[in-house]
């Protein structure tokens, strides 16, 4: 399908738009499906080199998460999310030291890439003889699951809350927004910390308390954004038309308004995964959340807290998990940075 600038109704004598000057532009399937605004956002996202690096990083991490069992297989009696322990020695062991107890099977790539017959601790072991390489690889899964679950949950809550508030407006909106203000007073790390601490004795030490806490104090941003978008869409003619023809409120909201207003929030939410993983790692670093030995980057880093004065020797207990976390968050941030430029209202209408 092609569209052309309209040729009728042009005053005679003004032939700037006639003939060869008329620009014809192909409209792809995707553009027709998403609509021009959303298509522009998507195009802006894959355009810059920075965002491409971001997509590449996230893609690599996704592959690592999916193929984790092929990279380093779990050691049978343990659940896969448990880092195997090579004995109970407290001191960290340097990279390349031999792996004696709880040794995983040799994966297909190992001998060719390392040239060794037996497993060694590729990135060393951390406090308590936990293997860092295993933690880094399987921690990717933890990062994606926590990131996805928390983001999806906060997104749904935020969208419902924000759209109800915006659609009903007036006093409802006012009250709901004040509640939001209250929830946003406490810094999110502190609020999540408190809530996770209250929940931990109830549901036990696992990823759950921290995830619930991050959900409880993470949805407010989305509610604000979608509220703003809905307030502008609410006034459009087609909503008036639906109202006049007697469509139910809830149907207008869910069938007509939200689908048209949701895209920017959706994109922002998809990029919030990096932030969620950051907060999760931070809480886990402080010692809230997963049980000892769970494959998650924050906890691997928290082991380093007891060795601060000897980090000069034990650099690998910080550098490997730390850099993994940084690269993961950076991947999402690079995409997010491109996103901010595309979504910035001042940039709209300029290509």
């Amino acid at each position: 399908m092609t569209i052309a600038e309209p040729t009728e109704n042009i005053p005679s004598g003004d032939n700037r738009l006639l003939g060869d000057d008329v620009k014809m532009r192909e409209i792809g399937r995707l553009e027709r499906f998403l609509g021009p605004d959303n298509y522009r956002i998507l195009k802006g996202l894959v355009k810059t080199p920075a965002s491409r690096v971001g997509f590449l990083l996230v893609f690599i991490f996704a592959m690592v998460a999916i193929f984790a069992p092929l990279i380093i297989p779990p050691v049978p009696p343990n659940s896969p999310s448990k880092i195997p322990r090579d004995g109970y020695k407290n001191d960290p062991q340097p990279p390349g030291s031999p792996w004696k107890r709880q040794v995983p099977e040799i994966p297909f790539w190992y001998k060719t890439l390392t040239g060794k017959e037996e497993w060694v601790h590729l990135m060393g072991t951390s406090e308590g003889s936990y293997d860092i390489f295993y933690g880094v690889i399987w921690g990717t899964r933890t990062a994606f699951t926590t990131g996805l679950v928390v983001t999806i949950a906060t997104f749904i809550i935020g969208v419902i809350y924000g759209s109800v508030s915006a659609y009903y407006g007036g006093i409802v909106d006012n009250i709901m927004m004040r509640i939001l203000d209250v929830l946003m007073i406490l810094p999110s790390t502190l609020a999540a910390l408190i809530f996770a601490a209250v929940l931990t004795p109830k549901i036990g030490k696992s990823v759950m308390p921290v995830m619930l806490a991050l959900i409880a104090f993470g949805w407010m941003g989305y509610a604000r954004i979608i509220r703003g978008d809905i307030l502008s869409i609410k006034e459009r003619d087609y909503i008036m038309a639906a109202k006049v023809s007697g469509v139910k409120n809830s149907r207008i909201l869910f069938k007509h308004i939200i689908p048209n207003a949701i895209f920017p929030t959706l994109v922002l939410a998809s990029l919030g995964i990096g932030d969620v993983v950051l907060s999760f790692a931070a809480l886990s670093f402080l010692g809230i959340g997963t049980e000892t030995g769970y494959a998650d980057w924050g906890q691997l880093l928290s082991f380093a807290r007891n060795w601060i004065s000897s980090l000069g020797t034990y650099w690998y207990i910080v550098v490997y998990p730390g850099m993994t976390l940084v690269l993961y968050v950076m991947g999402w941030n690079l995409i997010g940075d491109a996103m901010r430029d595309v979504l910035d209202p001042r940039m709209r209408g300029k290509s």
């Binding site: 010692g287 809230i288 000069g312």
Partner: protein, 354 residues
Amino acid sequence: MTTYIIRRLLLVPILLLGVTFLIFGMMQLLSPVERTALYLKDFPKNDKAIEGLIKRYGFDQPVYVQYWNWLMGVKNPNTGEREGGILHGDFGYSRSSSMPVGDLIKRRFPNTVDLALWAMLPMISIGIWLGVQAAVHQNSWIDQGLRIFSIVGTSFPTFVFGLLVLMVFYAKLQWLPPGRLSGWASAVVDSPQWRTYINILTIDSLLNGRFDIFWDALRHMLLPVLTLSYINWAGFLRVTRSSMLETLRQDYVVTARAKGLAERDVVFGHARPNALLPVITMAGFSIVGLLGGVVITESVFSYPGIGSAAARAAVSLDIVTMLGFAIFNGLILIVANLIVDIVYAFIDPRVRLS
């Protein structure tokens, strides 16, 4: 202006009420027995004792009565007067620090203020300077370099950055230690000769005329200050840059250029003061955030502020302390936000007229 301030002031009690509801609500997730345990300093002798305590603190009463008790204190059956209650500054007893939460806050908060005062300066001034540089040299290599710098900055989790600087400056080079004071210095501070003025160490040490202690305290703060600055520069850079770019496109800047002003005067005399308006709000909120205790930074550097105390309380599931901190924090943040908003309305008339 007056109406704006009044409108803004009216919001304060609502927010305060909201915060107390929120924190009280979190507490309600615990059963009466668990909540009783929070008030105990020692283990109870038997089950009867617990029941007695539940009765005494009114945990078997309707929620609104409990809320009132929590705010105003519980009636003492003998005297009939209310005792404790957060409105009387009684936040409960901190198990993790073995002292009342109020005392803990009193002891830790000056340290947090000290750190905030020192972190503020480099954080804001350098952040703004970088942002102006990026805007003035838009799309040049300086701008691109700063863009990468800021993306790396936002991607670095505070604790990873903190651990890395500790690794380099403490473990390897032995220059800058974590903690608050060296052993000899804290001996001096604890000695009877030391006079406490406002409890903020760097200021007190100057008032005492002890420059060696001033330097020691500062030395311990340099790494947290560096960490906080680096993490926050990215935000200041981005906001300043975009605001500056927008201002540089305004007509009055074009006029200034057209009448032949030097580029220096155009940028720093005409554009920058106006471009800094949104940055001021951001700076205000950052300072407020610093005062609220930077949980992770303080924990990484074992800096004894309220943030690290909150983290320790959370790890040992000391909920009374956590909630005490939350109330205190909420209070600071509400008041500080109010001040930021009013100051901002003074600076930018558009706010109060809208």
